[in-house]
């Protein structure tokens, strides 16, 4: 057994633990939503009748929510850029805006649900509404999760010790990755449910 130059190869992936962890988590999330989308396709193609989304759902509110979510993706990137430059105030501003937009999304969603409940429409009404409430509901839970993460980062930004911690920027980046993912899910959900 001869010792060679291979004796000390670089054994690290070059990606930080937190970032790799977030990416792996997103892989599992992709599988989760891919399963739901697949089930949606299977159920829809197997159904004898299926309503058109724009007849059954509130498309203007859905469009508004799409705009809100896309804007929030921009603001969280700005927040990350401000954190990268150690601009405390800028970070708080953009992260605060992101949170505001996420709450706005949930409020709009609430109005949408309320409109349906008022018409006597529930998840049990038909398979279409079952898919609609389940998929958007699960997406809403993911938005809530993002709000928890983002607001804790905003809270942390008020303490100097976190700005001195090299991990903080990584956490902001991780939160950004997650938020983009939630956004992308909506980009698929919106046409699948409302438009097609």
């Amino acid at each position: 057994m001869i010792t060679t130059a291979m004796d000390n190869p670089d054994t690290h992936s070059g990606v930080s633990n937190a970032k790799l962890g977030v990416w792996l988590f997103l892989c599992s999330e992709i599988m989760l939503f891919a399963t739901l989308f697949t089930s949606y396709i299977v159920l829809r193609t197997g159904a004898s009748s299926w309503p058109w989304g724009w007849d059954a759902l509130n498309v203007p509110l859905g469009t508004l929510n799409t705009a809100i979510l896309i804007s929030s993706s921009v603001t969280i990137v700005m927040a990350y850029a401000r954190a990268y430059d150690k601009d405390v105030k800028g970070f708080r501003l953009w992260m605060g805006l992101t949170l505001l937009l996420s709450f706005a999304f949930l409020v709009v969603k609430g109005f949408e649900y309320h409109g349906e409940f008022a018409k006597g429409i529930w998840p049990s009404t038909s398979l279409f509404y079952a898919c609609y409430f389940t998929l958007t509901g699960l997406h809403g839970i993911h938005i809530l999760g993002g709000i928890v993460v983002n607001s804790s980062l905003l809270y942390m930004s008020f303490k100097k010790e976190h700005w001195d911690n090299p991990l903080f920027l990584g956490r902001v980046e991780g939160a950004g990755l997650y938020w983009h993912f939630v956004d992308i899910v909506w980009i698929f959900l919106f046409p699948a449910l409302y438009l097609l």
Partner: protein
């Protein structure tokens, strides 16, 4: 990275921090081990009750029968609903709360960081969260026996529409969500640890086979469990909010047409369930294979035959396992064209499994084998797992599966894989790594009694199931004698039951041996088996933070009997 904030410091943590809410991967590993072994015993106990009913249908259960509430077991005779609950919970507990947490949570947690030379997992607090989620899910699952409506009754596979009509299923679903979340966090942790935390010099091709097995397993858990989580979510919706994802239109239940809106597909659940549950089979099998590889290399005192073949086979099993799921569903009514596809992929996936087994058998060739207690388990694994694997082939072929499907043959097949395969290897691993965990050896005589007793009894329990299944005895029958064609094989049910009670008795020496040796066993030094891998290069038991200083790795994992050296083992950390 996040390890720095978790106090690998010098100060002595409190009792609670050290043993209960610990973030140390070794303590968490042992917590997983104790919990998973307890769940294995619980799952086994449920089966012992069922075996009584199967051997002597309608006879009151001796001693314990009167302890159950009269609605479960009137006059000590098990009711049909109770039998169904026991069956569903036996499967669920054994797979999700017993074998997987033992193979991955316990062995993986304890050994993976040690074998790659890391001070701990990448995310120690997440690791602790995984354990507590698992425990919470497990206890919730057990508590469902005491809840109104009782425990789930629809088998561990929970096929709708039965699972949506039967009581008890909602608790099952919620505990599964907790268990799945725990697995997901664990698998992320394992992968990041294996990718990022390896000691200098530990390239991927120097990882022990066990680490590779854990990595492939983690990928399977990471990608296969979310579909079940989604599927469980849809089932929760069906049960709680009366949607009809899995409910067809016009279903008649107990003479009444179901009122749900309908239009859903029961078959969808089967697809989603088996998309998880087939990779899950390899989650049950790969880590034990890794354990067997470690034990065999150590006790044959020669390098593993075909290390790279084994690793590549494991990876191809991992990839292929996502493409075989519907071979569980040949008679479900899905398209025959699909059946052909899954028949072919199933035949293909058996190739890497056979390659691994062949490499392990060839590793024995020309070795001076030490017949230590763990080695006995590893050696028994080879033929018995082989039987389990080969009896699976007729089930993977559509023609033979039409006859064998849902008979005792299927039960015999997968119990040979999981019990005489996985559990045997996991028990062997206990004897092998016990000196590392507690700094003491387990008693060899008791170990051999446990080994021979267990192996004979396991074959006695599951062997008779093959002829029973071939004779056409269906699985999941509450009273096998209710069907006339089963009467001829009913004596085999008695044989199986007697051996099951024997198997229970032969676990007693193991339990005593385990706890007695923990405190009174023969003391050992840090490398009692003269092994080569990194976990034997630190004290037994390893202190918090594992290694005094970061180890440097200089060679592959199995350098045994290298020519020109005084000792017959060359540790990965030895500079020369």
């Amino acid at each position: 990275m996040s390890g720095d904030s978790n106090g690998h410091g010098a100060h002595e943590p409190s009792f609670w921090r050290k043993y209960v809410f610990s973030v140390d991967h070794k303590v968490i590993g042992l917590q997983y081990m104790m919990t998973a072994m307890s769940f294995l015993m619980v799952g086994f106990a449920l089966m012992l009750l069922m075996r009584w009913q199967l051997a002597w249908p309608g006879a009151p259960i001796p001693f314990f029968g009167r302890l159950f509430p009269p609605d479960l077991a009137p006059n000590g005779v098990m009711s049909g609903e109770f039998y169904n609950s026991l069956g569903a919970m036996h499967g669920t507990i054994m797979v999700f709360l017993g074998v997987v947490p033992l193979a991955v949570g316990a062995y993986g947690n304890y050994l993976l960081p040690l074998q790659i030379g890391a001070p701990d997992m990448a995310f120690p607090r997440l690791n602790m969260a995984s354990y507590w989620l698992f425990l919470g899910g497990g206890l919730l699952m057990l508590s469902s026996f005491m809840m109104p409506g009782g425990a789930a009754q629809s088998g561990w596979t929970s096929y709708p529409p039965l699972s949506i009509i039967n009581p008890g299923q909602t608790v099952w679903l919620f505990s599964m969500v907790l268990i799945i979340t725990s697995s997901l966090l664990g698998s992320i942790n394992f992968l990041v640890t294996a990718m990022n935390m390896r000691a200098p010099g530990m390239s991927l091709w120097r990882l022990p086979v066990f680490c590779w097995a854990q990595m492939v397993t983690s990928v399977l858990l990471l990608l296969a469990f979310p579909p079940l989580e989604a599927a469980a979510f849809l089932q929760v919706m069906d049960r709680v909010f009366h949607t009809s994802f899995y409910m067809p239109k016009g279903l008649v239940v107990l003479g009444h047409v179901s009122t749900v809106s309908g239009g859903g597909q029961p078959l969808l659940w089967e697809h989603l369930f088996w998309f998880l549950a087939h990779p899950e089979v390899y989650v049950l099998v790969l880590p034990p294979m890794g354990i067997v590889a470690e034990i065999i290399a150590n006790n044959t005192r020669k390098p593993l035959h075909g290390y790279k073949t084994i690793v590549v086979s494991m990876i191809s099993i991992g990839v292929m396992s996502f493409l075989v799921w519907a071979h569980h569903m040949f008679i479900s009514g899905m398209s025959p064209a699909l059946s052909n596809f899954f028949l072919v992929t199933t035949m293909i996936i058996s190739v890497p499994s056979v390659a691994i087994l062949t490499c392990l058998i060839f590793s024995l060739k020309g070795g001076s084998i030490r017949f230590t207690t763990p080695m006995l388990y590893a050696l028994a694994f080879l033929p018995l797992f082989g039987i389990g694997g080969l009896t699976g082939l007729p089930l993977g072929l559509t023609v033979t599966d039409i006859y064998l499907h849902d008979t005792y043959y299927v039960i015999g097949h997968f119990h040979f894989v999981v019990v005489t395969g996985s559990i045997l290897a996991l028990l062997g691993g206990t004897y092998h790594w016990f000196p590392k965990w507690f700094g003491r050896k387990m008693n060899d005589t008791l170990g051999k009694v446990h080994f021979w007793g267990s192996v004979v009894c396991m074959i006695g329990v599951f062997g008779p199931m093959f002829p029973m299944g071939l004779a056409g005895a269906s699985r999941r029958l509450y009273d096998p004698t209710a069907q006339v064609h089963n009467l001829i094989v009913q004596p085999l049910n008695v044989v199986s039951t007697v051996f099951a009670y024997g198997l229970f008795l032969f676990q007693l020496p193991f339990i005593w041996n385990f706890f007695h040796s923990m405190f009174r066993g023969e003391k050992t030094e840090e490398n009692p088996w003269h092994a080569t891998t990194l976990e034997w290069a630190c004290p037994s038991p390893p202190p918090h933070g594992n290694f005094d200083k970061t180890p440097r790795v200089h060679r592959g994992p199995y350098e045994y009997s290298a020519p020109g050296r005084k000792t017959d083992y060359w540790m990965q950390t030895d500079p020369a």
